[in-house]
Amino acid sequence: MTGNGTGAGQTLAERILARAGGLEQVTPGQIIDGRVDLAMMHEQGAQTVQPFHDMGASRVWDPDRVVIAIDHWVPASTEGAAVLHRILRQFAKEQGLPHFYDVGNHGICHQILAEHGWVVPGDLAVGTDSHTNMLGAMGAVAAGIGPTEMAAVLALGKLWLKVPPTIHVRVRGSLRKGVYAKDLILRILGEIKTTGATYKAVEFSGPTIERMSMSERFTLCNMTTEMGAKCGMIAPDATTYTFLEKIAKHPMHPLAPDADAHYERVVDIDVDALGPMVACPYSPDNVRPLEEVLPKHVKVDQVFLGSCTNARIDDLREGARILKGHKVAAGVRFIVSPASTSIYKQALDEGLIETFTEAGGVFTNSSCSACFGGNMGILAPGEVCASSSNRNFPGRMGAKNAEIYLLSPAATVAAAIRGELADPREFL
């Protein structure tokens, strides 16, 4: 059994960072110079170009390990965004960076990394976005960094990292019908809270995790960001290898935590009795069982099924399955945004787009869409949104006092049908 928290062995994060630092062993608190296996930039990468030149750097350390994926404003919806895109295109051209996922071949940056096999077991991956944590589901250390720091990575291929202590989250039991990976991660967030994993790694394991698809694992690791974590991760197994079999872009270094790994904290969760969960305004850790909130009849103005947390094909399928035969409630704007162009095409092939639009929803191009309040689907003062995304801080989707409820994709669709928060199990 892995990790009762008392041993002297290495956790998964420690194993990976030791490899990245060219060391046998590392201990939490130690500062290492880590070699980067993959560097990802989205629009914020435009802010990397100037510091890169200011540093006096001339060439990117390894163009084959750099991915640019624009996603926040695609196609550009403002002049400012258009300029960011142009800066990146020019930089890619000048530096000979071949892996640019531009308009037409685009998607949310983390989804692009995932579905093209850019991050593999054992990697140290960094991206200019806080939800880079999602890629830890590959059995990697994947962390968000700022653009100036990215400039240093592009110049040197390495960055300093403090080895984080690890929180071990062990999950057992079976998710019941109408309960999803999103409900589980909300449940865990309610316990660990938004600061509970600051500077730390979160490692998930247990029979429930072992049975999960990669998509579900991405959802879990994605929201370790909301706990403040440096990274969230799951040791690679057959599911990981099968997923990466044909798409891995570089060699894997499968690493596993030691059986006697030392964890700072162990959290045990049994999901047998878990029901749908909701994170109420204005914090992702303000989590309650959905059932407790339903009697308040929370009316919604907008519903968003999208974001890197939950807009993969399984999320859209489940949403469409619930929606089929129903209509979006009058007065509700229901926005569905697939996480990538390939998911868009799949949704098209499977007739899901038809289901969403027939019911009165709007199926958009793949992008971050309404998730961050800077592109589309922006909320007016006082409006309420049920969302499958990951953040509900004040002002996240527009007006400072607009309210965002974070839910599973199924529960967002239930809200779209009823016009207020509703239990998805009533539709299954």
């Binding site: 500062i31 914020q44 540093m55 040197l156 390495k158 800077g374």
Partner: protein
């Protein structure tokens, strides 16, 4: 970097996330001098118009949680903020602030000692923040040497520049 940093204090509460520091609608702005007009627009609306170089921001727990946007520390740097001190920081904000060259200090318990407008004195080497008005103070673990070096250099850009010039860069893979 000076060992002694003194300045007028602005206070913030707990869990001020990057959306409240620089709202999503300014994310396509990359000119720090433009960004600084909007910094803390949601959390502390009077800050942008009135903050002066050398002022010190003191916050509660988890300052800068949320997205990885460097716009927030960039804007603070453009204002010339002398230091940012908090009970605790979110990880990426801390890294970004240090990387752009702002003395960034985690001193648990600091927020309770200050009111807006107080004077603060920060001793970097000794690891102490003092309220000049009340005399109350709190200690903090001095920054590790590699971070002090970074601040010394004026931020990551200068540091890497020196490294590249010195030809010590390990660019081989």
């Amino acid at each position: 970097m000076r060992d002694l940093i003194e300045g007028r204090v602005w206070t913030l509460g707990d869990d001020v996330d990057t959306d409240q520091i620089i709202s999503g609608k300014y994310l396509t702005v990359i000119d720090p001098n433009e960004l600084k007009k909007h910094v803390f627009e949601i959390a502390l609306p009077e800050f942008a118009a009135n903050a002066q170089a050398g002022d010190i921001v003191i916050a509660g727990v988890n300052l800068g949680c949320g997205s990885s946007r460097e716009h927030a520390p960039q804007a603070l740097k453009a204002i010339g903020v002398g230091a940012v001190v908090a009970d605790s920081f979110a990880r990426i904000f801390f890294r970004n602030a240090i990387n752009v060259g702002i003395p960034t200090i985690e001193a648990p318990g600091v927020r309770a000692l200050f009111e807006a407008g107080d004077g603060a004195r920060i001793e970097m080497g000794a690891g102490r923040v003092t309220n000049v008005r009340t005399g109350a103070s709190v200690g903090f673990p001095p920054l590790p040497s590699h971070l002090l070096e970074l601040l010394e250099a004026g931020g990551l850009v200068e540091k890497v520049k020196r490294e590249l010039q010195a030809g010590r860069a390990d660019t081989a893979r």
